[in-house]
């Protein structure tokens, strides 16, 4: 029996793309498009429910002297509102604080699944969730810019930076177009995805590697598995930091794009 467990663990080494594919728990078709509910979907739903419940509890009975839940909710919101919306966008940024806070907490929750026992995979380690989040931020900052300046002025300021000799526009306009409307959303999504993907793979290498070493018949290899597991623990802590930082970076870049769209001072 124990032999069988060992073999099945060892068989999974080396880790690869297959470790990111979860068997659908349920699947259905909507207009011919296949949808599958996987572990990742469930984790995301739990994150949404958890954040919603957290804030509903926090503001259920708002008091002048906040209770513990209210204090936690207000700290989380205040951290983003003052530390990010005000810092990066300015006073006009306070109205984006709800979006930025939601975005930050949603990404944090989905990221730290990567080091939470039993979950142990970040839904953001698949490209679809970061792409969806980046698209929301992309549409938002363009929409805000268009509403603030009008579509013509907004895109003229992006494509034709003022204070530049006219004969340079053929060279610079494609760069500006690409960097604002292509590189921004793509790097936003890829930065988050790649960090979570690499983190998950890194942890798998050392945990599954340790299991493989432990299962081997060689006495020395069994001993070395200790270091593999030790490194897995150290890297888990490291990954936790990366997960928080990436959520922060995603949110702060969204804030900075919003600031750019609002102010547009080139």
């Amino acid at each position: 029996m124990e032999k069988a467990v060992r073999v099945s663990l060892a068989a999974e080494f080396p880790p690869g793309l297959k470790d990111f594919d979860y068997a659908p728990l349920a699947d259905f078709h909507v207009f011919g498009v296949e949808f599958a509910i996987t572990k990742l979907t469930l984790l995301t739903w739990i994150a949404i429910a958890g954040i919603s419940i957290f804030f509903l509890l926090a503001v259920r009975k708002p008091q002048l002297v906040p209770g513990r839940m209210q204090w936690m909710g207000e700290s989380a919101y205040g951290f983003i509102r003052d530390g990010m919306a005000r810092q990066v966008i300015g006073e006009a940024g306070v109205r984006f604080a709800p979006y930025l806070t939601t975005l930050f907490l949603f990404i944090v929750a989905n990221n730290i699944y990567g080091v939470i026992p039993l979950a142990q995979i970040s839904p953001t380690a698949k490209i679809s969730l970061p792409v969806a989040l980046a698209l929301i931020s992309f549409v938002l900052f363009n929409w805000i810019g268009i509403r603030q300046h009008g579509a013509a002025t907004y895109f003229r300021n992006i494509l034709f930076p003022p204070g530049v000799p006219i004969w340079l526009y053929p060279l610079l306009t494609p760069i500006e177009f690409f960097s604002t409307l292509v590189v921004r959303p793509v790097t936003l999504a890829v930065r988050l995805f790649a960090n979570m993907f690499a983190g998950h793979l890194l942890l798998l290498v050392f945990i599954l590697g340790g299991a493989t070493l432990l299962a081997s018949d060689n006495f020395l290899f069994k001993g070395f598995s200790f270091f593999s597991f030790l490194l897995a623990i150290v890297l888990s802590l490291f990954e936790f930091a990366v997960q928080l930082v990436q959520a922060y970076v995603f949110t702060i870049l969204t804030a900075s794009y919003l600031q750019g769209a609002l102010a547009q001072q080139h």
Partner: protein, 81 residues
Amino acid sequence: MCDIVCLAMADDQSNRGPEWGMSTGWAIVGTLISGMLVWGGIGWLIDWWFNVSFGLPIGLVLGAAGAIFLVVKRYANLSSE
């Protein structure tokens, strides 16, 4: 040395913290990469279509120069304010 560091760190508004410096850094990196990707890509396409070999290097240099010009234009005036 200070030319670069001071430019990147110069605060044009007192209420802007280190976060602003970080997003400026990403913006500059994004512009530089875009410049080389766009014009390098156009140069590569020229190579491919006309079966020549000078398009990619010229495109890369041109794109890098354009991107550096954009970065200087946009961020260099911050230190003089």
